[in-house]
Amino acid sequence: MNDAVKRHEYDVVVIGAGGAGLRAAIEASAMGVRTALICKSLLGKAHTVMAEGGIAAALGNVWKEDNWKVHFRDTMRGGKLLNHWRMAQIHAQEAPDRVLELEEWGALFDRTKDGLILQRDFGGHRYARLAHVGDRTGLEMIRTLQDHAVHRGIDVFMETTMFRLLTEDGRVSGAIGYDRQKGELALFHAKAVVLATGGVGKAWKVTSNSWEYTGDGFAMALEAGAELIDMEMTQFHPTGMVWPTSVRGLLVTEGVRGDGGTLKNANGERFMFKYIPEFFKAETADNEAEADRWYEDKTNRRTPDLLPRDEVARAINAEVKAGRGSPHGGVFLDIASRRSAEYIKRRLPSMYHQFMQLAGVDITKEAMEIGPTLHYIMGGVRVDPDSTQSTVPGLFAAGEVAAGMHGANRLGGNSLSDLLVFGRRAGLYAAEYAKRLARMPLLDEQQVSRRSQEILAPLERRGGENPYALHAELTDTMQDLVGIIRTADELRQALTRIDSLRTRAARCAVASGRVYNPSWHLALDLRTMLLCSEAVTRSALLREESRGGHTRDDYPKPDPDWGKKNVVTRLRDGQVELRTASLPEAPSELRALLGEEKPSAKVAVPAGAE
């Protein structure tokens, strides 16, 4: 068999070309190091393109009272204080500059009446804070970064998936994977690697994530010796489409609720008032009249429809279980009764289009049917908060693949800003690291040969398991047993099934032909998805409390002791091994910002709000 590998050499290799990867590559290239950007799909198609609502940044254009301290507070409280305080601080402080920088590169956000960037309301954010372009903010962001990267002349390798990192004496020396268009193995010899590979939503059946989301970065990091933290923290976005089946899970932006949409059960009841947790009572309206006034007058407390995502997803789940769901097993999201057709079409054009074309529902006239969908993994690679370097020298991580920033639950809008802030830092510090290295790390040729054989192995087997069937079994397992509400018993059952699936996945046989072979690709993705699924499930079993994106039916309350701990995952001799580590404590001046806060009566009328 021909196992020739196409070799490339760079200082910094960025794996993943969504917002974080593009921003990292731009920064590394600006630092003057040889930079490669590896794209699992075509350039500009990464998951960032699907982000709808906006980029959270305390620009203060709509509410001048907004500033980084309020944003920091909202992020930490939304994350149930499990966030790394330093990441949340850096993020809140740097997000405005990163948004304004996009404008310098040609992005065109919606405007206030004064001609500044308009900001919209979103769940968990004290003030209207999200810079946006209608409901296609992600497209604006990725295209702006893409065009800027292209003009910088960065080398881009499209439709190329990295499956394994290479190391020399415990530090990064490169990565190896599969170039679909050429049908050959590709090896990137590098001084530093930035992981910007996103999450692992494709291990669940109902997800807003595309086929690319198979946990490549989590698995590569683990296998290279890095640590992951808090993999049990999985975000179920409360509003995914539920019907037709073929679009089940497809995202419905939180902007629908930010712009006035409310949740209702089959009896027409606005049920969120029943699910306001103690933690958010002081700042949440407990009656419809006050909630309705809040949209125009922020001296009122905010509507519970815009509680953080974990709270809303659990509430919807409970309503459906209680038999008050919609015909297709969700609940109703209604914006038509509050807003005009013209307003809805202008603010939410792609939602209008998506429901009209795919479900035959006119959202300017009728309510949408929605339900929770696996959307995001808060857990991920444990990184240094300032430099984004993992516990493996030369390995950096930014965006969804990294952990710490969002704690136990991510606020909407904080992902796009995370990508920009930590993408830039990853590129910067990876480039600095590469410059400091006296020589290229050596490639271990035995390692290269072993990894090549591993990648090619499914092509050589005959009559084994079908990867599509195994993938369906895995997504059923994670959906049924590692979902929104978890129990020790079900998590143990999940581990047994994952174990058996792993044995079978090692026997996957795929159709022949190396060029653009999706069955071969899926066989390789299965390995990473299974490793990630085990990490999530084991972490979920260990954390005996309910917090943010992790809810245990057998431990239904948050536990103050667990609130001070990260669950750390690593591999030892190929086996997943867990331990806990103390969460770093914020300095007292930042801790003082984190208390409950009622809306102040002296809040001004918004400057340029519509």
């Binding site: 372009v133 019907w243 074309q357």
Partner: protein, 261 residues
């Protein structure tokens, strides 16, 4: 739901043929679901490019019964019951495998377009633009780069030899977005005239018809660009001087005819 009969192109750069599949369907399915079902149950190596499955990324472009469309946004219930459906790769670009084509032509053109170059900030350090001023360009920014406009454009669809001198509707939209950006200071008019081949477009509006984002490519991007090129190259004084000196007026491709004397 009855089974549907689907013909799918199977092959690569060296050629191929349509293969017929009998596929069970469910309510609400789109063409991409049918292709995925074939992949999962009958042809594991059937190559198809896709990502978001929501009409937002522009990956799953193909020709469905000969019409350029996104597979993820084409519902099966838009076909007559019993109607045979044929899915082929976009015709303008070379096949890599099955429904996947080599669209690098587009990315190569993108590299050549001079970058956004903003004017200085306001005195107070801000950037002020008004909604009315940005909306025109926001329409162009809706482009999801599905390249269906490039696929349908007859200038390159039927003339491989013209690809080197014609950037195509997608990049006219991109150029229009830059030229009409309220902050941009770069002037690309001469390049649009000489290099990007705007003059080849004879505004048949095929691109506008297939745009899944409903961008008015011809009316709002191409025609205003043509007008800009005309304005900047229309120089009646120079033309009259050349006539008086007896030198023939030489026209570059796309340059408008001078007015008849």
């Amino acid at each position: 739901m009855p089974n549907v009969k689907v013909n799918v192109f199977r092959g690569d750069a060296s050629g191929g043929q349509l293969k017929r599949y009998d596929v069970p369907t469910d309510p609400g399915m789109v063409v991409l679901d049918v292709v995925h079902r074939i992949q999962a149950t009958q042809e594991p190596d059937l190559a198809v490019r896709w990502n978001c499955k929501a009409g937002k990324c522009g990956s799953c472009s193909a020709e469905i019964n000969g019409l350029p469309k996104l597979m993820c946004m084409t519902r099966m219930d838009t076909f007559e019951e019993g109607e045979e459906i044929t899915v082929t790769p976009v015709k303008t670009f070379p096949v890599i495998r099955d429904l996947v084509t080599d669209v690098s032509y587009n990315y190569e053109w993108a590299k050549t377009i001079p970058a956004f170059k903003p004017k200085p900030k306001e005195a107070d350090g801000t950037r002020r633009m008004y909604q009315d001023d940005v909306e025109r360009v926001q329409e162009f920014h809706k482009c999801i780069e599905c390249f269906l406009c490039q696929d349908v454009c007859h200038v390159i669809r039927d003339h491989e030899e013209d690809k080197a001198g014609f950037a195509g509707p997608r990049y006219f939209v991109r150029l229009a977005a830059l030229e009409m950006h309220p902050l941009d200071t770069n002037d690309r008019t001469e390049l649009i005239r000489q290099k990007y081949g705007l003059g080849y477009c004879n505004i048949t509006k095929c691109c506008t018809d297939v745009c899944p984002e409903h961008i008015h490519i011809t009316d709002n991007a191409i025609i205003p660009l043509k007008e800009r090129v005309v304005t900047s190259t229309y120089d009646p004084v120079g033309w009259a001087l050349r006539r008086m000196r007896g030198k023939p007026a030489t026209l570059a491709a796309g340059e408008p005819e001078p007015p008849s004397a």
